[in-house]
């Protein structure tokens, strides 16, 4: 009933706003671009400011190590350790309650740097803890939590690999300046974009490599790149949307709320999701025209991101679209090397070949892939068997118009030729990082690296390795453009439009019934032809000229 009223209202308003809509001065809901001074980043309901950490006695000491800082933190924040150890930044593990799959970085194989498992000495630099380098890490010791990586505001805090790795690799991490841990500890505050970005902007092994919509360009983005995070706009920190309760964050990539049925909720009710609707509601476009009414109607089928993120990998930082591990391992004079081959929008060069990883292809300002998505990702895990002769999806997803939970979402598609066990038809754990003879990074022997990686975790390995074509899909949700840059109707409502491959819908402008169109055109053309003949006979019959 409400929607009918809205429609009628839209209809009436339609007469008035048809011509005047562009003239409206109000920019709702897009915030007006304000020129400096840059306000502090907005962290949602959290405001901080109740304590000045530089005044705490516990923090005025010459810390020798990270865990010592953590002990000091926990001396006041007594329950935080127990809270923190439940979250995925700590566990790197997630059991999907619907599919039962055991997920998380601790277990998964991805089609970038393959697997963290067995390579924690390198990969767990991004674990929110200290010293995870092998299976002996103690997940129950709260002094192993790294508070500073998220709460440092000085920008001087950094992490290095938890184990030495091959000499050829460890050289990269030498010669860094010492960290003044006391200064960092006294300067803690709510996390800013750069804190989260330390890891999340560098997923897959480099800036924006993995996600496509999370890059260093978001540290200080213009409003044009991201309407929420823009420093000349709202200046949101990540936690403004990824709201936090007891160190657990809303918004999961493993279980995505593809269609939010609840919207904003009443005050104090829900802050458990990072969906657009949790702030913007279920009817996000103010109904001041027929088109706006129709846009609100689209919300049921089309994710907000689909129209409002016209392209990803914007802002001058490229993302990787193709990766070929088959070419990895080439050496010059017995040593690994790399080649520059791509200059991205901000002028920086990117490697297009590395001996340790293979060949890469980059892209910027990429039009996403659009598909129905119900929020459920199904992973090809280390024990999943598949046909090695065709492309396998590392994370596949389902969704349709009819299931009630799906919407049309934008995705980044990643294509990688990835090492695999061709005999058993499974993915493999590759031993990339280590001080031993088998680690690929340093020794360049894929066979040995796989054998080591599989044996380490008692996994079956046929001994016959090769490469399989893999695909992975990354829902695009960041880099939301200002509304004036969102897609227009004909981006999709046209032949060969953006939704060309999306099934299960009748899309006006894209879809035609071949026979109706053919018969219709024949009828009109036939009528014109008949008239022409009739008129010619009239013209040339001697007595018919007058009539």
């Amino acid at each position: 009933m409400r929607s009918t009223l809205g429609f009628l209202l839209a209809l009436v308003l339609g007469f008035f706003t048809l011509t005047s809509i562009q003239a409206t001065a109000d920019n709702w809901p897009t915030p007006p671009a304000t020129v400096a001074p840059v306000p502090p980043q907005i962290s949602g309901p959290l405001t901080g400011g109740t304590a000045d950490h530089s005044k705490f006695e516990a923090l005025k000491q010459p810390f020798a190590s990270g865990p010592e800082v953590t002990k000091a933190c926990l001396s006041c924040h007594t329950e935080t350790g127990q809270h923190f150890m439940k979250n995925i930044h700590w566990t790197w593990e997630r059991r999907n309650p619907d599919t039962g799959q055991l997920l998380g970085k601790k277990h998964l194989v991805n089609n970038f740097c393959t697997n963290a498992r067995g390579n924690e000495g390198m990969c767990a630099q991004c674990h929110a803890g200290y010293g995870w380098k092998d299976e002996n890490f103690d997940f129950s010791d709260e002094t192993n939590i790294d508070c500073l990586v998220c709460h440092d505001t000085t920008g001087t805090y950094y992490k290095t690999p938890n184990s030495a790795g091959s000499p050829a690799c460890s050289v990269m991490f030498e010669g860094k300046p010492a960290i003044d841990l006391a200064l960092v500890a006294q300067s803690v505050d709510l996390p800013e974009r750069a804190n989260c970005g330390t890891c999340h902007f560098n997923g897959g092994g480099g800036d924006n490599v993995k996600h496509g919509d999370l890059s260093s360009a978001l540290k200080n983005p213009p409003r044009k790149l991201d309407v929420h995070m823009g420093v000349d706009g709202l200046n949101f920190a990540c936690t403004a949307c990824h709201v936090t309760k007891s160190h657990v964050w809303a918004g999961s990539r493993y279980e995505i709320a593809a269609k939010d049925h609840e919207g904003v909720g009443k005050p104090g009710q829900r802050r458990d999701v990072a969906t657009c609707e949790s702030c913007h509601g279920l009817e996000p476009h103010p109904v001041d025209s027929l088109a706006a009414f129709k846009r609100n109607d689209h919300v049921s089928s089309v994710a907000c991101q689909t129209c409002h993120i016209p392209e990803f990998a914007r802002g001058g930082v490229a993302t990787m679209t193709d990766w070929d591990w088959r070419t990895a391992g080439k050496t010059r004079n017995g040593e690994g090397y790399h080649e520059h081959g791509y200059t991205q929008g901000n002028g920086e060069h990117r490697y297009t070949y590395k001996s340790i990883k293979g060949d890469f292809t980059y892209g910027e300002n990429i039009v996403p892939l659009y598909r129905w998505f119900d929020g459920q990702m199904n992973y090809t895990t280390i024990d999943t068997k598949f046909d090695v002769n065709q492309a396998v999806a590392i994370n596949d997803f389902s969704g349709s118009r009819e299931d009630g939970d799906s919407r049309i979402w934008p995705f980044k598609q990643m294509r990688t030729w990835l090492p695999a066990d061709l005999g058993n038809g499974t993915l493999v754990y590759t031993h990339l990082w280590g001080e031993d003879e088998d680690s690929y990074w340093g020794n360049y022997d894929m066979g040995k690296a796989i054998e080591h990686g599989m044996k380490q975790f008692n996994l079956p390995y046929s001994g016959q390795f090769g490469f399989v074509e893999t695909l992975s899909y990354w829902p695009i949700t960041h880099m939301v453009a200002p509304k004036e840059d969102s897609l227009s109707c004909e981006s999709c409502h046209a032949e060969k439009g953006r939704l060309e491959g999306v099934e299960g819908i009748y899309l006006p402008g894209r879809d035609h019934n071949y026979w109706v169109d053919l018969l219709g055109i024949l009828a009109v053309a036939g009528t014109l032809l008949g008239i022409l003949i009739h008129a010619l006979i009239r013209l040339f019959s001697p007595k018919g000229a007058k009539h």
């Binding site: 006006p508 035609h512 006979i537």
Partner: protein
Amino acid sequence: MATRRVKIFSLFERFWHWSQMLLIMFLMITGFGLHGFHDLFDFEDAVTLHTLAAFALLLLWAFSIFWLFTTRNWRHFIPTVKGMWGVLRFYILGIFKGEHHPYRKAFWRKHNPLQALTYLMLKIVLFPLIWGSGLIYLFYFLWRDVPQATQWLEGVALVHTAAAFTILTFVIIHVYMLTTGHSFREHIMPMINGFDEVDLTPEEEAYLQNDEPENIR
């Protein structure tokens, strides 16, 4: 029996005809644009204008239906086979031989049998088909969650498009018909000033002359 120039199209009827003509032309242009046949409008404007024009036309029809029934003018559209063959024969054959149109307009029969049947079909079949399918299409937001809604929508769109093609065919023939018989101008004038030559019975003539002198010349 006298042939006189009588006002057979009232002001409302003429207003109805011409505003309907404009709205239908506009709906055709925007509609076929939405269908993907041309890019004269961007999609958003085309949807808005098509919808508003459709509602304007529905409003006009509401008035015209009311008018037809309250003024007894609906009787002009009662189908009849009497004289139908003569009219058909004229368009197929007689027109080429220089014959005159066999139909003589009467005061309560201003359309020839072919016209009456065509307009009736337009009114009771084609128009309801296009606005019925159009309204169902437009109110998709109310029934979008019924099972297989998109297949139904496709069917509705199919009917809507097919009806549009049929109406376009009608429009072409309708305009061509204006060139037959008398001159194009003589055909079009009655729909502008309302007057046309009509065969009147002596009683009709006497009535008009006495009671409605402004409607007879």
